[in-house]
């Protein structure tokens, strides 16, 4: 029948169909080729850098066996075991997240505070943080004014002004206290308060209070112990408050709420245990590891311009972290403020609307201006107009802050735009004022996106070199900065300087090793951005 013949014709593969199939296959192959080319060339580049930094061929077979036996095997086995069971896997991820996050926070807090002087930080915190919060709580309790949010901001600004004005008087008073007390105020108290607030939501009021108080108690106990043994407890206060307590809380909670996945929280401990065993055996048996440049010396020591094996980039790491931190503090509020104005407040029609559109277009364009040009801007603004000394942290952070500001604004705008308008309508329809709508509906939805964008922008800035060369930041420094007004250098500049050292050990050893350090810093920041974004995704689904 005709219909049958028809069906047969369309179903069988003819030469035209074969040709089309060939086209499709070819196209797919080209796409795959382009992807592979990109990935492989990146791998070769990173492999090359890592090879120079670690020098893996210099290690003995015994070392590799030890490495595999203590670190690779147990971790892999545990990961494979965890992957099969969803509950265990999620507990494992959570535990790793807690340990990694707490470790990053702990180390960067300690490094930054140590560089800036704990007494200065605690002074700022006292007047700009604790006093306003206490004041706010009092105002809230008595309910004198409806604008409690404004009180806290005014109090913080006023407090900081007082701290600044009375610095010469206040600093010696604060300085009487032992250093660990300053760290206690900087880290332990906020952690205990955070625990209390978090606990009130998660558990009961009583449990929360008990948890916060016992956190304080444990820290004080360790302090007493350390003082008894004659050790400076400062570092241990930070480690205990910012690392041990949060990790213990997260893992304790997994243990209670998720009995099926409980075993998963052992993941980080398998890794840490393996690492300790590895180090102990390595030292005990005197096994030689690879004779690379990425060593503890590189991470913890000061720069040395003549001898590559004793050169360290600790001052540069601190410089980078402090610069990025100050940059974030400068760029985040301004960028978010700009985005909020443009998205939520700016008029859309008339002359003022046109002005707002002009502003918006210009900000997007600024995001593409070459970084060297921002260097010139920084030079003109901070050195020539404001008269800052050459190469201080503040002008470096300010210049890079200007560089990332448009990116922060644009990504924050994107985050605000992704909040559905129906939510704003709902809030307005309930009789929320514009500010209430922002605070209760729009911001909670948009903040993760804003943070992600800002962190990615900071990650871009941490690798910037050109604008810092233009504003004459020192390319080599032997000590970390001790405040935002002191001079400092950053990792990429030191890499740049080491590249022209006459000693090849610098050019082919220190440079790649420092590059790996920089990449790891970058990786940490990107991971943070991804974690923030994933949390956001999970919540809005």
């Amino acid at each position: 029948m005709a219909a049958d013949g028809n069906t047969e014709r369309t179903l069988s593969v003819d030469s035209r169909g074969r040709l089309l199939g060939l086209h499709a296959t070819l196209f797919e192959a080209v796409l795959l080729g382009a992807t592979l080319f990109g990935i492989v060339s990146l791998c070769i580049l990173f492999g090359y850098i890592a090879f120079d930094a670690f020098r893996p061929l210099t290690a003995s077979i015994r070392w590799y066996l030890l490495f595999a036996g203590t670190l690779v095997l147990p971790t892999t086995a545990f990961t494979l075991y965890a992957r099969r069971r969803p509950a265990v896997r999620s507990a494992n991820t959570k535990a790793f997240g807690a340990v990694g996050g707490a470790l990053t926070v702990t180390l960067s807090t300690y490094i930054v505070v140590d560089a800036l002087s704990p007494y200065d930080v605690v002074l700022c915190l006292l007047f700009g943080g604790y006093l306003p919060v206490v004041l706010w709580l009092i105002v809230r309790r008595t309910k004198r004014t409806p604008q409690t949010g404004l009180t806290i901001i005014l109090a913080a600004v006023g407090g900081l002004a007082v701290a600044h004005g009375g610095y010469d008087l206040l600093r010696p008073i604060v300085g009487i206290a032992a250093q660990w007390i300053a760290y206690f105020g900087i880290v332990t108290l906020p952690v205990a308060c955070g625990l209390w607030i978090f606990g009130r939501r998660r558990w009961s009021r009583q449990t929360a209070r008990r948890a916060a108080l016992s956190a304080l108690g444990v820290v004080l106990l360790i302090v007493a112990l350390a003082l008894g043994l004659g050790i400076d407890p400062s570092f241990w206060v930070v480690v205990l408050s910012a690392f041990v307590i949060p990790v213990a809380v997260v893992i304790g909670e997994i243990g209670v709420t998720d009995p099926a996945g409980r075993i998963g929280s052992a993941g980080p401990f398998v890794l840490v245990g393996g690492l300790s065993a590895f180090l102990a055996v390595e030292r005990q048996l005197g096994i030689d590891g690879p004779d690379g440049y990425l060593t503890a010396t590189l991470l913890l020591e000061s720069w040395h311009g003549l001898n590559a094996s004793s050169a360290g980039v600790y001052p540069q790491i601190v410089g980078s972290i402090v610069t990025v931190g100050v940059m974030g503090v400068l760029a985040f509020p301004i960028g978010i403020g700009g985005a909020l104005y443009l998205e939520e407040y700016a008029p859309r029609t008339g002359w003022s609307g046109r002005f707002a559109t002009l502003l918006e277009v210009n900000i997007s364009n600024l995001a593409g201006v070459p970084s060297v040009v921002y260097g010139l801007l920084g030079l003109a603004l901070f050195r020539n107009a404001l008269g800052f000394p050459t190469g201080i942290v503040l002008s470096a952070a300010g210049t890079l802050g200007l560089l990332i500001l448009p990116i922060v604004v644009v990504s924050a705008q994107e985050a605000l735009r992704s909040v559905p308008d129906s939510l704003r309508e709902a809030a307005f329809g309930m009789g929320a004022s514009r500010w209430q709508t922002l605070r209760t509906v729009v911001l909670p939805e948009a903040i993760p996106g804003m943070l992600t964008g800002t962190i990615l922008a900071l990650a871009r800035a941490i690798g910037e070199t050109a604008p810092l060369v233009i504003i004459a930041v020192a390319t080599t420094k032997y000590s970390p900065p001790d405040g935002v007004l002191s001079s400092a250098t950053v990792l990429p500049l030191q890499i740049f300087a080491a590249r022209s050292n006459v000693d090849p050990a610098f050019r082919h050893g220190i440079v790649p090793a420092a590059a790996v350090v920089l990449l790891v810093l970058l990786l940490l920041m990107n991971t943070a951005a991804i974690v923030v974004r994933n949390r956001f995704d999970r919540r809005s689904q």
């Binding site: 008029p347 309930m430 009789g431 929320a432 919540r539």
Partner: protein, 276 residues
Amino acid sequence: MINQESTPAVQSTAETTEHTESTQASRGPAIEAHDLSVTYGTETALESVDIQIPDRQITAIIGPSGCGKSTFLRCINRMNDRIDAAAVSGALSFKGTNVYDESVDPVALRRRIGMVFQHPNPFPKSIYDNVAYGLRIQGISSEIDARVKLALKRAALYEEVSDSLEKSALDLSGGQQQRLCIARAIAVDPDVLLMDEPASALDPIATAKIEDLIAELSEEYTVVIVTHNMQQAARISDRTAVFLTGGELVEYDDTETIFENPEHDRVEDYITGKFG
């Protein structure tokens, strides 16, 4: 009941909160429009509308798409303020106060005129926080638990969610979300409830539930409901207003009259489905 001090601009009449049993005629209209027109730029969305919406009854607004039903509703609680292009002229009063008067605070107005939208739009918060939202932004901190529970009960949702109040509102079904939006709107005890096609995105069973709910709510609230569905208007409303293309209010009368014996041929054509 709700914090009257915070809403000084909208005059509150004692009768609104007191009686429930007096006859319709003894109360003034809740909402009254005179020569109300709205334009979006050059486009006219409402053309000289005159209407008196009675207190504590259900008024349905029907008409083809684009005839200005939503625009009219959004005039009542000044949600049109959010649209720069919208220009309102004429008078619209709520309990005798001109809502477009300089001295009226739209925020205070919206606290007394609740709104339910076409697509359910719960906040991405817990069920409890959604219902408590209006109370919290008004600074009411007493008996939140009881008020939330009451609102959920009145919205016929309490049984379904009583043991999952802390769960995200986004996990609810579409019909449940819409009832949650109604609960959220009535938790603050408004005087008027505006509903813009509240059931158009829902399945028939959810729609039936919402209709029952609206019938019950009319004992305490003035309900103005926009609907696309003629049967729905006929089933639940006391009065019906028919808007036709061009933003014109063509006929406004008791629902029965509109559906059985309309004055205008165009209205009859529309109701019997000849166009629209």
